[in-house]
């Protein structure tokens, strides 16, 4: 590990999901407080791994995304943090700034009747813009070594279910990450598998890990997400299980596995439509009749539910075991 790496961490701060996660009816309850202490330890290890390592922390809140900490913009926050003789200054700085900002944002959130959807896309695009900013050093500072920052990566700690309405923005973010060789890692801390984040990790060469023992979060983080992508080829990190390549339809924002696609603009529809809503193309009536006849008799299961048998083995695979 001779080169510095950059880590952008995206925390999914959804009050309702964290409430569910902490409830003792779960097999391994994990409260937001314990979660944060694990995450801060992980962040400290990232800084400690190498002096030049840079860090940015983003929070995805209901309807809002904020930057909680970044190692380049700490000047204004540094004076607020009191010096502590018993703590290493950089650790102390990260911990107290992240905690203070989360607290501030949660207080700003108030007590709304209904929780707005989580602004994961906002946080993801902000992380991409931030990486773009730090990797493209302005021409004025050309004296700096351009190879200082390689291996930028984004780690998403997700607790919320898939937001099917944000299918296109998520895909666009994935493609830009792919273009800039940014690895997206996903750790699903709570809740069902998310289809889009699975695809994100798969397409950018990151790993998607579903947390089974949630009390061992820190171990998962350190063993699989601390080594930068260049190192992971050498050490064996837990790999992704399955990748679900489903998409969200444009008409109802449902996540579908069999869809009808316009041949002109490739828009996805969950049922045969006479006119494409995106490019206004009219489809031949014979096609519609044929497709309606060949549709599966059972309507697809409810919105966004996991694919039947997604976590078990498929009939074909099991029968051959």
């Amino acid at each position: 590990m001779d080169k510095a790496s950059h880590l952008s961490l995206i925390l999914d701060i959804s009050p309702s999901q964290w409430h569910l996660s902490a409830s003792p009816s779960n097999a391994f309850p994990l409260s937001f407080k314990t979660f944060l202490s694990h995450v801060l330890t992980f962040l400290n290890s990232h800084i400690a791994a190498m002096h030049e390592n840079s860090l940015a922390v983003f929070g995805a809140l209901p309807g809002k995304s904020v930057m909680l900490y970044s190692s380049t913009d700490t000047a204004e926050g540094a004076d607020v943090v009191a010096a502590d003789p018993n703590a290493y200054r950089p650790f102390k700085l990260v911990d107290s700034l992240v905690m203070r900002n989360i607290q501030r944002e949660l207080e700003l959130l108030g007590d709304p009747e209904e929780e707005a959807p989580i602004a994961l896309v906002g946080a993801l695009t902000k992380a991409l813009c931030y990486i773009n900013r730090i990797t493209h050093i302005p021409t004025g500072a050309a004296t700096e070594d351009p190879a200082v920052l390689i291996d930028p990566r984004i780690l998403i700690l997700s607790v919320s279910p898939d937001l099917s309405s944000s299918y296109i923005p998520v895909m666009n973010s994935i493609f830009s990450a792919q273009k800039y060789k940014i690895t997206i890692d996903v750790c699903k801390v709570f809740g069902a598998d998310t289809v889009f984040l699975q695809q994100a990790a798969h397409l950018t060469g990151g790993s998607y890990i579903y947390l089974e023992r949630r009390d061992a979060l820190l171990q998962y983080l350190i063993m699989s997400f601390l080594p930068p992508p260049a190192m992971r080829q050498v050490i064996a990190v837990p790999k992704q299980d399955k990748v679900d390549f489903r998409a969200a339809c444009f008409c109802h924002k449902d996540i579908v596995d069999i869809a009808f696609v316009c041949s002109v603009c490739l828009s996805i529809f969950c049922s045969p439509v006479p006119v494409c809503s995106t490019c206004r193309t009219k489809f031949p009536i014979k096609t519609l009749q044929r497709l309606n006849a060949s549709r599966p008799s059972l309507p697809p299961s409810a919105n966004g539910t996991p694919r039947p048998g997604a976590r078990q083995n498929t009939p074909l695979a099991t029968s051959l075991r």
Binding site: C129, N132, F245, A259, F260, V261, T281, T287
Partner: protein
Amino acid sequence: MDPGSDSDLSLDEGNLTVRGRNKAARAKGIDPTKDKGKGKAKDQGYAWEANYTRSWDTVQEDEGGSLQGAVEELMARGRRRRLLAPAAAIRRTIIRHLILLLDLSASMMDRDMRPTRFDLTLEYAREFVTEWFDQNPLGQVGVVAMRGGIGERIGEMSGNPQDVLKALSERHKLEPTGEPSLQNAIDMARSSMSHLPTHSSREILIIFGSLTTVDPGNIFDTLQSCIKDKIRISLVALAAEMKICRELCDKTGGQFGVAMNEGHFKDLLFELIPPPAQRAVARTTGGGTTNPAADLMMMGFPMRLPDTSPPSLCVCHAEMRTAGFLCPRCMAKICDVPTDCDVCGLMIVSSPHLARSYHHLFPVKPYIAVMTLDNAPKPTSICHACSLPFKVQPAASVTDGMSPLGRYRCPTCSNDFCTDCDVFVHDVVHCCPGCEK
């Protein structure tokens, strides 16, 4: 087209006419193979029979003795050629599948093209791939090499230009040696495209520097199976024209060209970048009255099984495999996507493959340059996306469309962004961090 390219266009057209006539001959029902010798003899069919045109004569100096005008005209001509192409309403293939077949035989070490044929081919192939993905964002490219009498898979079919470029950049792994085998390499390319759905385009582009081919069987059988599979073969020869090469291209509807110099080589390659017009597909259920190009297709999005899953039989090869894709309708296991399911016939595609084009459909609204902060009640001090602090002092001189404060505001969510993020959001991410759309 790059300004350094100094090919002559006249010969190019000569090639085109020859091909056109052969097609016409076929249309009339005359066997083109019989007609060919005669047709060739009548006018310049082979590169070495063409009138020698001095490429430097086509470039004219202007009054001041400068070549600037001539170069600009050449570049403009290249652009115009590209613009003129899609004028007629022909259906073009949007999802292309191309196998790049590189000759890595000993003859590629010839130095008639500088520095060597091999180095030049690699350099142009990389430029070709970059440009190809720019114009065909939904396409997929694989790389196969012919060397030592066999076909070698260098890069798997991939929609990510980085993967293909990586395969082409490892020069030490591609060292030319031995004899080329057209048949082996084409068979390998054909088999790696065999799973594709019936209506998708399949193309092979061969860069061939040798004058021989060492084949284990009858190459005409391979040609017939390529015609049957509707694979379009294009070939750029670096040495000279071989009959089999022209035959491969003519019979499959591809383009054939012999590169005369470095610039012409590049031109021949880059002519193959724009999507080809799709062949008229015999429609079993044609609408007739409505636009035949538009149709609704039923597609399935599969689930990918990891390498660690228990092995099971795949329906395409009937072999025990661990990794694979599951058809969402019949749960059959398939080795590659996109494909038609062998059991239920459903077209199976990976959804990210489709999603690559969506940013054209839903572009981000252009941001408005903020001229003054007077009517903003509480301006933020940092860029909404990257948290870069904004300039406090407005710049003295501003050009049109630029904000003196370096602030660009989204018309939908009214957040301010810096110059870099404005460019990055519109050119790369295609999603506004403020409104998440």
